[in-house]
């Protein structure tokens, strides 16, 4: 076989006819181990797939065990990267219209997969230039998502982690029957093993006061704090209206599934808030960084994302006890006054 014939065979073997699919590549060599960034990229992927009129999305996760993270996350090393990946992996299952998910640890296989998409002219993202330069710009903005919303009047929504939908329904029915489920995320990164951006952390005393007030004012509400086990303060365990999934041996997949089936979300601007942003759940996102406003196409002080609903509220300052109660009451009233379809869980049940 001549060189040219070999080349032709090589290229033809890489080509696959698959016009309905869009491929999303996520390489940890230059992309972050961060829940919020990943979820935003998933929605951006869904938007691009919709624009390209692709019905399904295939996800390819690239991981080089020898160099598992970018320089910005130097604390993730070949010795501990498995735990970080294990913690983040469920987020990939939230991709809407997910058809397949590949975790590729072999560099050559990853390259062949990428080359096959490029040669077959199957739409994919990130671009070849990003892959070659191994560069991704952060923070990720909402410009594409906002543009899509302006054009179509709706955006693709994140799903519950694939395979966990039924579990979440069963769990809520079994443990919180007759109660409203409110997922909360008072960010406590300072308690984590690797604290990051601690100035975004919430004042936990405020939250404890808030929860104790709610136990009297709204006994029909169960609060579910989400986040790493180390980030859960001891005092939360003592609250009777609180259930902590991580203390029940559950992981991120369970938390996201519960969040997807919850009635409301209130929490600091973080990864879980990003998940709520791209679902139908009524939410209150607290203490959004002012520098973030430009990236998401907002002005500081705006109460809603362009694609947000009236009971999906943003705040730009640190929460106080009074503001927290007020925000909760506002969203809670919207649950009761509006038709059941507006409630996240009710909408899921009606769809089912």
């Amino acid at each position: 076989m001549g060189l040219l014939a070999g080349y032709r065979a090589f290229v033809s073997a890489l080509k696959i006819p698959d016009p309905d699919s869009f491929t999303f590549f996520y390489h940890f060599g230059y992309q972050h181990y961060a829940l919020g960034d990943l979820l935003t990229m998933e929605v951006q992927t869904a938007v691009r797939a919709a624009e390209a009129q692709c019905q399904y999305i295939d996800v390819v996760i690239g991981l080089d065990p020898g160099k598992p993270a970018s320089q910005l996350q130097g604390f993730i090393t070949p010795l501990n990267h498995r735990s970080y990946l294990d913690n983040l992996f469920p987020a990939f299952l939230c991709m809407p219209n997910l058809r397949s998910l590949r975790l590729v640890r072999d560099r050559l296989s990853y390259s062949y997969l990428y080359a096959s998409r490029a040669l077959s002219k199957i739409p994919y993202w990130p671009s070849l230039k990003n892959e070659l330069k191994m560069h991704q710009e952060y923070p990720l903005g909402h410009h594409e998502i906002n543009a899509y919303y302006e054009k179509h009047g709706a955006i693709p929504k994140l799903a519950a982690p694939r395979g966990y939908e039924m579990w979440a329904s069963r769990f809520i029915e079994q443990h919180f029957s007759g109660k409203k489920v409110v997922v909360i995320n008072p960010r406590q990164s300072s308690l984590a093993s690797v604290p990051t951006v601690t100035y975004r952390d919430a004042e936990l005393d405020t939250w404890i006061n808030f929860l104790s007030t709610m136990s009297i004012k709204h006994p029909d509400v169960m609060f579910v704090p989400v986040g790493g086990y180390a980030e859960q303060d001891q005092r939360l365990l003592l609250c009777k209206n609180v259930f902590i999934p991580r203390c029940n041996g559950q992981n991120l997949a369970h938390e996201l599934a519960l969040l997807h089936n919850a009635d409301m979300f209130i929490g600091t601007s973080s990864g879980f808030a990003t998940y709520a942003t791209f679902t139908d759940i009524p939410y209150g996102i607290l203490n959004i960084e002012h520098m973030f406003a430009g990236w998401v196409g907002l002005s500081v002080g705006d109460r809603h994302y362009p694609f947000g609903k009236p009971n999906q509220i943003l705040t730009w300052e640190s929460e106080t006890y009074e503001s927290l109660v007020e925000l909760f009451d506002e969203i809670y009233e919207s649950l009761n006054t509006k038709s059941p379809q507006h409630s996240g869980r009710a909408a899921k049940l009606s769809n089912a």
Partner: protein
């Protein structure tokens, strides 16, 4: 800086009359041109490396793509490199076609049962490598197809991924929710040599529980390699040192349900057994490796630790099973990794049917671990206690006596001060008669 000094030195030579002006000018030009050349070379290198990250240099396809991208603006005489690299990528591909280097694919179809799938999965790569008569550390790809009727209710996919990450020979992992699309994509993830085997394998993978379980028992001589990541091991050690230091740790694993949990009612009968053992062996602490549904409904005794409720992930629990002093429970993934780590203990079968097929009452894995027993029928409490006593007696225990309470400790100190031990009076040496 050195260039400027050299030029000054040349000028000083010229002024002193040691060299002529023309020679001095030519020397300065030569020095300047060297400097310009170095600057040019550095810029060129920076430009080239911009599109050639070192991380990707091993990937032939990316080299290929890099040079395709740069071909239009390639003015550095590197076109021969482009052809060389394109040629080498083809050669590499041909090499992969001719070897078994790339992939061996295993598939679990339909709904996955937690109790058995975890078990199979942790051993799957090894089992198939074993069946195909491949070396134990052959890189293996696993492709899992999930049937449409089970797509919404497989609440343990992430657990499977966790376990797969611990397999030393686990190469790539795939989940497919669309069977037809998986078939179309499959040739990309396996070598051409493997494609014709695929049809035969797909049928072979529909192995029943018993066959796979039996295979896992047959692998005594070549136990699978489950990694012991440092961070999870450290997490376990930190937990033990801070919460139950100096104790003999017994890891307990019970059979899990389809969602990866065990109901509290299944744990309740074991608590009596734990209490009995604790009364005889005060240093013993039991750590429960499974996720317990409704764990918060009871107050757990200090010597029983449901570690999944204490923030342990599945990976960290696997590390716990690998590092416990004694293991007791079913041969699920925890049992398998404990067995592979040669942890002495009582290994109960996961499936009763499998045990009934065995003729003997007890399998003794004497070759791998000296105190490792696997009764083939579900034992009674008395039998369990008898065997646990045997193991505890056989392994080295640092101090079997119960530690003193603080009051007893103080009392013993006071007693010692009040009644110092009587000194032995040495008899006076008598002078020997001359």
């Amino acid at each position: 800086m050195s260039g400027a000094l050299s030029r000054l030195y040349v000028r000083s030579l010229n002024r002193s009359g040691l060299i002529s002006t023309s020679i001095a000018i030519s020397m300065e030009v030569a020095l300047l041109s060297k400097h310009i050349f170095l600057l040019f070379a550095r810029t060129a290198k920076r430009w080239l490396t911009r599109y050639q990250p070192i991380d990707w240099m091993d990937s032939e396809v990316h080299r290929f793509a890099v040079f395709l991208l740069n071909m239009g603006t390639n003015r550095f005489g590197l076109r021969h490199r482009f052809f060389n690299l394109a040629g080498s990528s083809i050669l590499k591909y041909r090499e992969l076609q001719c070897t078994d280097k790339l992939m061996h694919v295993a598939t679990l179809e339909g709904g996955l049962d937690q109790g058995t799938a975890l078990n199979f999965f942790s051993f799957m790569t090894h089992i198939f490598a074993h069946n195909l008569e491949l070396p134990p550390h052959q890189p293996v790809n696993v492709s899992i197809r999930i049937a449409a009727n089970a797509a919404r209710d497989t609440a343990h996919l992430t657990d499977l991924a966790s376990l797969y990450l611990l397999c030393t020979n686990g190469n790539n992992l795939e989940f497919h929710w669309d069977d037809a699309a998986a078939d179309a994509q499959l040739p990309l993830s396996m070598s051409a040599h493997e494609r014709h085997r695929w049809a035969a394998h797909r049928n072979a993978y529909a192995l029943n529980t018993r066959a796979l379980q039996q295979t896992s028992f047959d692998l005594q001589r070549t136990p699978p390699s489950i990694e012991k990541p440092l961070d999870t091991r450290k997490h376990y050690n930190d937990y033990i040192k801070s919460s139950v230091p100096g104790s003999v740790i017994i890891g307990v694993s019970l059979k899990e349900g389809t969602d990866g949990t065990i109901p509290l009612d299944d744990v309740a009968p074991w608590l009596d057994f734990f209490r009995t053992v604790k009364s005889n062996h005060p240093h013993v602490v039991f750590i429960l490796l499974n996720r317990v549904d409704g764990w918060e409904k009871i107050v757990w005794p200090e010597y029983v630790r449901p570690i999944r409720s204490h923030g342990f992930t599945l990976m960290q629990s696997i590390a716990a099973a690998q590092n416990t002093d004694i293991f007791m429970g079913v041969v699920d993934s925890f049992g398998l990794v404990a067995y592979q780590s040669r942890v002495p203990g009582i290994y109960l079968p996961l499936e009763r049917e499998l045990c009934e097929a065995e003729a003997s009452d007890e399998i003794q894995f004497q070759e791998t671990a000296p105190h490792c027993y696997a009764p083939v029928t579900m034992p009674s409490t008395a039998s369990l206690k008898f065997q646990l006593d045997r193991i505890l007696a056989a392994i080295h225990l640092p101090n079997e006596s119960a530690p003193l309470s603080f009051d007893d400790y103080i009392a013993s100190k006071v007693t010692k001060k009040a009644k110092p031990p009587a000194r032995s009076v040495k008899p006076r040496a008598t002078k020997k008669p001359k």
